[in-house]
């Protein structure tokens, strides 16, 4: 009986205060992850599953030689992070991102997209 009471007390305590925050996972990207686009995009846009801490989230884009092709600072609003791109030629580019959700869960990832080549 005492065990049952303790377990129920714990569950009540636990489920009574669920907060709406979690790890920020990449939900979708433009250009899409692994995609090939016909014309050079002017920016990369990343949408996450959670809102981001703007000061502690970042993204960079590099070409096949590792040279930065992004320009300006990332623009972060809510769960979306954008960064402008220099004029891209045909080739494959890697997007690396790091995100801190508003409850300080840190996540990171990277993917490539290709310009031209169809």
């Amino acid at each position: 009986m005492r065990l049952r009471v303790l377990i129920l007390s714990f569950l009540a305590m636990a489920f009574g205060s669920v907060a709406a925050h979690a790890h920020a996972m990449l939900d979708r990207a433009s250009p899409a992850v692994g995609s090939t686009v016909a014309s050079a995009p002017r920016e990369v846009s990343l949408t996450f599953s959670q809102n981001l801490e703007a000061a502690f989230s970042s993204v960079r884009v590099t070409d096949a030689n590792g040279a930065r092709v992004d320009q300006g600072k990332p623009q972060i609003s809510g769960n979306t992070m954008r960064i402008g791109l220099k004029s891209l030629s045909q080739g494959t580019y890697r997007v690396r991102w790091q995100a801190l959700s508003v409850d300080t869960h840190k996540t990171e990832g990277s993917f490539t997209f290709t310009v031209g080549g169809r």
Binding site: V18, A22, V33, S49, F56, L100, T104, K106, E108
Partner: protein
């Protein structure tokens, strides 16, 4: 005995509540871009703030005729510091013999102290050391579902994602493996009641898993339905082999191979596996294993989802590549 074991459990849980009430903390098993889900039959390679509530298994024993067995388990994992964690769990079993005889009750209370040796994000590699203790005399000994002696099992766990393979490997980079190997020592070498030796046992297991979330966010977004993008198909294997002090006992390796799938959401995951015994001593026919697993660090990021000591695992700081 049952009364004293209930008190023991109540005391352990009360201690846990005291600990949880003072908690602060972070993450489940993220290693770089890789997320290792909580596996159902084995353990994932990270300390974490998580709870399996419940894990349910249905199977038929290897007896002739076979008995039907239900096991319902609960496990709570809590980080003490960023790299040190403890788990506490117990299993209630019901074994129904064809003749109508039924054994039911709790097994011994099990605790696991774990230390995170390594989390290498670039190579998606996690290493973990643990000491699993099954506390003798805390379960239903009279029902034959628990032992009066304890067991200690030093265990090594690992997880490796293949995302660091060259891009040319494409969709294969979404694969990952986890595994564990432990050596179980009983605190007694001989069971006077049954007149048999209590063996020392090698306990080992592994999983191979394919992460659809990883495929979508790291390799290629095929615009699949959202439900599919949360799935992690998995095959688990758990085995145990008596290796010492086994005079007069069966030397046979027993275990199961479990193909299944995990759906991983934001705050919880749900897993289901078929359970195939590796031989007749391990069971009869195909069983079932299901689990609801809660990510306490995501559900309660400012309270019980944080380590007890040492503050946040990811204090706000400027992230740099």
């Amino acid at each position: 005995m049952l009364r004293s074991s209930s008190c023991w459990r109540a005391f352990a849980l009360a201690l846990l509540f005291v600990a949880l009430s003072a908690a602060e903390a972070l993450a489940h098993c993220f290693v770089g871009a890789r997320f290792f889900p909580a596996t159902l039959a084995t353990d994932d390679p990270c300390v974490a703030d998580e709870m399996s509530l419940p894990t349910v298994q249905w199977s038929k024993t290897g007896d002739v005729p076979a008995a039907t067995e239900w096991d319902i388990s609960v496990e709570l994992s809590k980080r003490i510091t960023e790299d040190l964690g403890i788990s506490i769990g117990d299993t209630w079993s019901n074994i129904h013999q064809p003749g109508g005889f039924t054994q039911a009750g709790f097994g011994n209370l099990e605790t696991t102290l774990q230390y995170q040796l390594l989390k290498d994000g670039q190579h998606e590699l996690a290493l973990l050391l643990g000491l699993v203790v099954e506390w003798g005399g805390t379960g239903a000994i009279d029902s034959g579902l628990a032992t009066p002696w304890s067991t200690l099992t030093p265990t090594f766990y690992f997880g490796k994602g293949f995302g660091d393979l060259p891009d040319s490997f494409g969709w294969l980079r979404a694969f990952a493996v986890t595994g564990q190997i432990g050596y179980q020592f009983p605190t007694r070498s001989f069971d006077v009641d049954s007149g048999s030796f209590i063996p020392q046992v090698l306990v080992y297991g592994a999983s191979i898993q394919y992460s659809m979330p990883y495929l979508k966010s790291e390799i290629r977004d095929y615009q699949l339905p959202d439900f599919i993008n949360h799935l992690i198909p998995i095959v688990e294997m758990q085995l145990s082999t008596p290796v010492a002090n086994n005079f007069g006992n069966s030397p046979i390796t027993i275990g199961t191979i479990n193909p299944g799938v995990i759906w991983a959401g934001t705050y919880f995951q749900v897993g289901a596996e078929a359970v195939f015994p590796v031989n007749h001593a391990s069971g009869t026919g195909v069983g079932f294993l299901g689990q609801l697993h809660l990510y306490l660090d995501d559900m309660f990021p400012t309270t019980i989802g944080r380590p007890l000591l040492g503050g946040s695992s990811a204090p706000p700081q400027q992230l740099k590549f």
